[in-house]
């Protein structure tokens, strides 16, 4: 450790880049399969539950899992990990990006534009679209996620619209229009189902799981890896941390620091990249909490 601390910055950066380069450019089969399997599973719940083949309580549990898990394949697409612009697999990248977050009612364009802003301005009180998730502790973060979704609340996913309006580019305007259409479809669907005698099914297969999923995603993707969220800059805005719930339940976010340093490393390779890079990160002063 003492040896690496004394290593010049340029050498540290070179080592960091060499490790990262070994993990970039790999096709994320797992995330692509995850997108289609997860969406197919969630869609299948509707006929299974409505036809009485699956009990509603079980459908609710599976739907909650599906929606909690649906964001990350889109996240890989947002960073062009599945197919770079102009590549043969670009269509697959965009398809995964668009399809995977449908259950979350989060359109790809909006997610991508706001996520890029998050990377540019992580932890900045005014410019980070995810800043409002910051909270002093885990319980407060969960509560904050619900509060930020109230009709006249500021922040949270509701602030994404404000970010688009501020950007005011043709792409941002298009993203905002699509987001409004998503919302209209979602609520029209819920209301239509409810008045067709399927209110409980709509509530327990989409509405409630979407709220739980959003909270789970905001907690593990936005709050936990950036907590306490008072640092900005390359090695200061994200931490490595050990969760008592392990890597699967935290959706790989213990290693989120790797993602912020090298966003094109596929999610499933971030643990390996972290362990190879750990001493460099420590030398750089990255916050490492028990990992």
């Amino acid at each position: 450790m003492a040896e690496i601390s004394a290593t010049p910055d340029a050498a540290l950066l070179a080592r960091e880049r060499e490790i990262a380069s070994r993990h970039m450019g790999h096709f994320p089969w797992g995330s692509v399969a995850w997108c289609f399997a997860n969406l197919a599973c969630w869609l299948a719940l509707w006929p299974l539950v409505i036809l009485g083949i699956m009990p509603l309580w079980l459908g609710f549990i599976v739907a909650t899992l599906n929606i909690s898990l649906c964001y990350l394949p889109s996240h890989e697409a947002q960073h062009d990990i599945i197919g770079r612009p102009g590549s043969k697999l670009r269509w697959l990248n965009e398809l995964v990006g668009h399809l995977s977050t449908i259950p979350l009612v989060l359109p790809y364009d909006l997610a991508k534009l706001t996520h890029m802003e998050h990377h540019k301005h992580a932890n900045h009180p005014e410019h980070d679209p995810d800043y409002s998730v910051h909270a002093p502790n885990a319980l407060a973060a969960i509560w904050q996620s619900f509060v930020s979704r109230q009709p006249r609340a500021d922040g949270g996913i509701k602030s994404y619209g404000d970010v688009m309006q501020k950007m005011d580019t043709p792409r941002a305007r298009k993203a905002l229009t699509i987001a409004i259409l998503y919302q209209l479809f979602f609520y029209s669907f819920l209301i239509g189902m409810a008045w067709s005698g399927l209110a409980l099914e709509a509530a327990l297969l989409w509405w409630l799981p979407q709220h739980i999923g959003l909270t789970y995603i905001q907690f593990y993707l936005s709050w936990a890896p950036h907590h306490p969220g008072n640092g900005q800059g390359r090695y200061k805005d994200t931490r490595a941390w050990r969760s008592r719930f392990g890597n699967l339940l935290t959706m790989g976010m213990q290693y989120h620091v790797i993602h912020h340093l090298y966003p094109r490393i596929p999610l499933m390779r971030t643990p390996r990249a972290y362990w190879e890079m750990r001493d460099v990160l420590e030398a750089r002063g990255v916050q490492i909490d028990g990992l």
Partner: protein, 68 residues
């Protein structure tokens, strides 16, 4: 015209959600849980009071919960 309609729907979003979704949801809950209502009150009336009331409260206060 369409934009104005969409704006109106979003402006009254909580009330629309309360009446459009919560009312039939509460009715379905009362029926599914077989809750006995006193004085022969209709399940729809209770559902309207709960769903409509919550929607109205959220519309006025800007929040479905006590905190904004």
């Amino acid at each position: 015209m369409l934009v104005k309609l969409i704006e109106l729907i979003f402006k009254f979003g909580p009330l629309v959600f309360g009446l459009g979704f919560l009312v039939p949801l509460f009715h379905a809950l009362i029926v599914r849980l077989d809750i006995a209502l006193p004085f022969g009150i209709s399940a729809w009336l209770i559902a309207l009071a709960l769903g409509g009331g919550l929607g109205l409260m959220a519309q006025v206060r800007g929040s479905w919960i006590w905190q904004r």
